[in-house]
Amino acid sequence: MNSKISALMDGELEARELHEPLSALGADSDARETWRTYHLISDALRGGALLSTDCAPRVAQRLAQEPALVGPLPSTVRPPDRARWFVPSALAASVAAAALVGWVALAPQQGAGPATAPIAQALQAEGAKEPARLPLTSAARDYLIAHQAFSPRNSLQGMAPYVRTVSDQAVARKP
């Protein structure tokens, strides 16, 4: 389930794959904790801690004051590759899904489908200015090691640049 939550967070799931992780987030407090932890890691590594300071209840509260939009997903068609890479999808997804967690908690019997609230749209537009930086995965550490051997800078600096390959900052620790 953790990998599905991670994929959901990154906006990588197709419409038909959404139901399972969303149900889990609605019903399972462990899943919600995982969701929050992943976001906390992601935000901390990107230097912004704004969204994960337990904003879900506040978003839910705001949503409760707005008419809930029950309908199909805004779009199940992925945008063209180029556009997609420059959108901080994790950030957008986090806002949309924080809204969603609130919405699922309020009306679990109505099935899965995100409520696109004005706040979420506003935040999404604001976040689109800078490409977001993701945490490096442990697979990326393998790549850093594999790459470093080929850097001509080694000729001038010896192995000092290898410190990147074992740097504590290189790997996001997941619970």
């Binding site: 990998s3 991670s6 994929a7 990154d10 990588e12 590759d81 180029r82 890479w85 901080p88 999808s89 994790a90 490409p131 977001a132 930086r133 993701l134 945490p135 490096l136 995965t137 442990s138 697979a139 990326a140 550490r141 393998d142 790549y143 850093l144 090691i145 594999a146 790459h147 470093q148 051997a149 080929f150 850097s151 001509p152 800078r153 080694n154 000729s155 001038l156 600096q157 010896g158 192995m159 000092a160 640049p161 290898y162 410190v163 990147r164 390959t165 074992v166 740097s167 504590d168 900052q169 290189a170």
Partner: protein
Amino acid sequence: MSRAAGALLLWAAAGMAQAQAAPEALDWLRKIYQATEKLSYTGTFVYQQGERTETSRITRRADASGGIERLEVLDGLPREVVRTRDEIRCYLPDSQTVKVDRRRDQRGFPALLPSQVAGLTENYTITVGETARIAGFDCRAIVLAPKDELRYGYQLWADAQSGMLLKARAFNRAGETVEQFTFTQLEIGNVARERLRPRHAARSWRVEQSAIAPANLAEAGWNVVADLPGFHKVVEIRRLLRDARPVGQVVYSDGLAAVSVFIEPIAGRTEPARIGLATMGAVNVYTREVADHLVTVVGEAPAASVQRIGNRVEFRRPQ
């Protein structure tokens, strides 16, 4: 002086120097190369990226067989890297893992040889800069200012006597530091063999080997073109990373910076893929999905350059 003004000065200086060759600066680079090859030393350096710093000790013993080097991180868990002519071993105590990168042979390794130093002037304006005292050594700065925004600039401080590199800074177009290595203490001279021994016995640790074999990714249907002026392909190989997953790797270099393109099948991956951009100092890592494969570009270059290479990777099923 403000940072912006400093950057402006640097670029103005770069512009002026463009017209003239700087043979003295190139001699300094050759001197640094010789020192890196020939010297034995032990010292402590600080690695700085963003607002974070990490202190490490580096020890090198030069010998006829290419020397041995050992790097030990002094902050937090004692992570270690030991390099010999044939392999690199990374010791990671938190996961009790040793990652081994074997070097089959030296061919194709894009070392910056003294004879190739002059070639750097194609992409960088190289000048001799200030004198400065670093960790007790009287140093001379050498500035490699990039001729375009596709690469970072570098400022190197070398000991005037031995040529040993005491400090290295990578900077972006705005002149801001993206990464810095600074020795705070250094002793040049004989190093006892015992000091190269890894502190971790690591007998019960998991060993992850990375074997290398030549490859032809174009034959497999991959179209990888650097399309980045000044960067040339230096090597194309296939690796087996942990879990024995086959990964293609193409390396491009402009003589100083290198960019690797990794292509890996998504099937069989044990951890979820992260699509997007990540950064470690002067290294940007950009991942996207192409035809059921993950394409990851890892390079000592600005994010835009790394993304540009990644976005040009195409797959066409071979006929």
